[in-house]
Amino acid sequence: MTRPIRTVAWSAGLAALLVAVVVGSAALGAVSIDPVTVAAAMLNAVVVPSGVVVREVIVPGIGVGLPAPGLEYTPLFSFEVESTHQIIVEDIRLPRIALAATVGSSLAAAGTVMQGFFRNPLADPSIIGVSSGAAAGAVAAIAFPALVPFGSLHLSAFVGALGTAFLVYAIATEGGRTPVATLLLAGVAVQAFLGAMISYMLVQSGDDLRQAVVWMMGHLSNSTWGDVKFALPVTVVGVTILLAYARDLNVLLLGEEDAHHLGVDVERTKLLLLALASLVTAAGVAVAGVIGFVGLVVPHIMRLLVGPDHRILLPTSALAGASFLVATDTIARLGRLPLPVGPAIDTPIVPVGIITAALGAPFFLFLLTRREVHSV
């Protein structure tokens, strides 16, 4: 089978799996809904732009209404679904599931890129400090709301994440060159520093400690369509551009000098890959907190299945990461494994990061002892 056909076949299979996982997840919960109804409700939620309308928009702060053009949407389907079920699926479960899929694919794609970029099997999306920066921003916003000029927790985390990535890159760059080893070490050092800052803020946070810890574990509860509208476009655009650089990433695996000889503009490509991977990670982490192991384990599993070629590895990892996080978040949401019987975890919020690490780490160790995890 040639590589393009394999890519399409694997991607189609994983997309089908994602749809199945999404439908299954939306069917499960306090109210069980049968999958056919779920599918109908999901299709009912699909809207298409049908025209342009001019609406009056109140300018905040001034209180004056101004006309602004906007798109008008019309539902594409209208299946017969009980209205409570439609609301449960569309407004309660689907935002969370969509966000899980988005964050899962962004972390898995970013992890794949970072492992290739650093030629290091231990690399994960946060290797240059993106998660630490996000956590610092988020904890600051939680513990010291007055100190953070922009009230939003998500925005604070997003700014912290990108600011940290930029800082690490700037520290590691000298004379127009960014040695990968320096980048790695600068990332470690900055993460250690931010870890200290976060610990200090946690100690000082008082009643907000629990909220901060839950955020740092990574969770998707209370997700809204607004979160999806923020994270999804960033992820889609970022991953699409990364896909266009999959071949450059392959060539970079040969080492920077060889890559230069093969026509890759090494420093520019490195900056672009690093910026996009960090952006995508930051978008995911800002809305979902620090969810570990997705970005480390999913690329390894996919590398075992499809090989090291990023032209097939990157899209399949993104799709598999989406399925993985939707499935694990379903467990977190239910508070138990989605089985007829089983222990229930009696907590109001189970951070999904606990589930991903608790399931991902043993599986990774299993692969490791089978010696199936190769260097990148």
């Binding site: 266009a244 450059d248 392959n250 230069h260 093969l262 503009d265 990148v376």
Partner: protein, 487 residues
């Protein structure tokens, strides 16, 4: 050695397939390289200083020189991987440091000395990476890309490995895969850094034959080559680098000389013409040559030595003496033109008394011979001469007996112990016996004895310990042995 390589090649039937005919798609427009006043240092350490060099289109230039001379740095500067501190490098008129890597990689391909390929891409995909500079970001490989990759696999004999993961092939195969990648890159200029370093002997030749083929198609090739003989054999021109500068630049025969090897490699070596390939052969000697020959009172005087004999043994003695620094004035003869000893003497510019083959010795030759041995401090006679029954040889030996000072007998390295002392002759009685390797010590012994007393020369046992020979008893001389006289 060279003969052995050819045998090796011949034994392996698969390597004797005729070269694949070049096809149009692999031919390229020839391009020249111009390196102009390039300097580069790493930190405070200057690696290349003001190097200027031009390589003509379709030329195969070898960079030779000791480790650290700057060969790899020069290649990296030409490839554009390394920016020069000053100076310019142009390929086909394009400044490779002034254009995007996409452009320079369409002009120059590189086979690095070692490539990090510790991940399991199939071999074919690695070769396909050579097409990267020619492809747009959004298109798949064209039929032409595929054809070029397949041909590169065939030409480097890696086609049968195409589906194997690159991290599971041997080091030599990997080297050929990287060469295939460079061929697939289809650039007018190819730079090779030690392309034969990790290859066995037949793959070395196969690789360099392939490179010559690529050159014949119009490619310009520069290669850093450690093996001087392979460099001389395959390159049109050699550039010898020493301490970051070009020491010599020219035809292999002009670049590889005893003098240049001594200057640049700090090695004592002879350069002779290989009778099979017709190219230069380098034979290096340990650099302690001449140590122990000088004595305190005569430290600055050169020792005159004449060598009588022919063949391997005489050639070995001449080479050893001629390369032992500035201590000896060597002459040899009479020796037949074309004899190994004569050829060695010619290449080392040693004074020689040549006679035409199959001619008897003329009185003039005999006189010239007598003059030389009379003026010589020591005369070395090879054993084959002593054992010979020819009338001409007898006359020469009589002359040695009459006029020569110290005499040393040179014997072949292997079987000296069995033959030493097996026959008696006046020379054996008064001389020393040594192999070419130990000739310097033997001459020193002979000269010291000559000073101490007239013949008969010194007692055998004591001299053995003088010379540091390891033999415990005198007859089995692996090193130097002296034969005591009966007087």
């Amino acid at each position: 050695m060279r003969g052995f390589e050819n045998d090796e090649r011949g034994d392996d039937g698969t390597n004797r397939d005729p070269p694949v005919d070049p096809e149009p798609e692999s031919s390229v427009e020839p391009a020249s390289i111009a390196v102009d006043g390039v300097s580069r240092s790493f930190g405070d350490l200057p690696v290349l200083e003001d190097v200027s060099l031009t390589v003509d289109p379709g030329e195969f230039v070898g960079f030779v020189g000791p480790n650290g001379a700057g060969k790899t740095t020069l290649l990296r500067l030409i490839s554009g991987a390394l920016e020069p501190d000053s100076g310019t490098v142009t390929v086909d008129g394009v400044d490779v440091h002034d254009v995007p890597s996409k452009r320079s990689s369409q002009l120059v391909s590189v086979v690095p000395q070692d490539t990090t390929l510790s991940f399991s891409f199939p071999v074919r995909d690695v070769v396909e990476m050579g097409r990267h500079p020619h492809r747009s970001r959004f298109s798949g490989p064209t039929p032409e890309d595929r054809a070029v990759v397949e041909r590169a696999l065939e030409r480097t004999r890696t086609a049968e490995l195409a589906a194997r993961p690159i991290d599971e092939v041997s080091g030599g195969q990997r080297q050929r895969v990287v060469l295939a990648r460079a061929i697939a890159q289809a650039t007018p200029v190819m730079l090779l850094d030690e392309p034969t370093a990790s290859l066995d002997v037949n793959h070395q030749l196969e690789t360099l034959e392939l490179v010559r083929e690529l050159v014949a198609e119009g490619r310009t090739v520069c290669a850093a080559i450690h093996d001087l003989e392979l460099a001389a054999r395959y390159c049109d021109r050699l550039v010898m680098l020493a301490d970051g500068e070009i020491y010599r630049n020219g035809r292999p025969a002009d670049v590889l000389t005893g003098e240049s090897l001594s200057d640049v490699f700090d090695a004592t070596a002879t350069v002779t013409r290989n009778p099979i390939t017709g190219t230069e052969t380098v034979t290096a000697f340990p650099n302690d040559a001449g140590v122990g020959v000088r004595s305190e009172d005569e430290s600055d005087r050169r020792v005159r030595v004449h060598v009588l004999g022919s063949g391997q043994t005489a050639a070995g003695v001449v080479a050893r003496l001629a390369t032992a620094g500035e201590r000896f004035d060597v002459s040899v003869g009479p020796v037949t033109s074309g004899d190994t000893a004569a050829e060695t003497a010619r290449s080392l510019e040693v004074d020689r008394l040549e006679v035409a083959p199959f001619e008897s010795l003329s009185p003039a030759d005999l006189t010239a011979f007598e003059d030389r041995i009379r003026n010589a401090d020591a005369t070395v006679v090879t054993e084959s001469v002593i054992d010979s029954d020819g009338a001409g040889t007898r006359r020469l030996l009589e002359a040695v007996e009459t006029v020569a000072g110290a005499v040393v007998i040179a014997t072949r390295a292997e079987d000296d112990s069995s033959r030493a002392g097996s026959t008696t002759s006046p020379e054996r009685e008064r001389g020393l016996v040594a192999t070419p390797e130990t000739i310097l010590e033997a001459i020193r012994c002979a000269l010291e004895r000559g000073r101490e007393s007239a013949r008969p020369l010194v007692d055998f046992g004591s001299s053995s310990s003088d010379t540091g020979s390891s033999s415990s008893d005198g007859d089995s001389s692996s090193g130097v042995s002296a034969e005591s006289s009966n007087d």
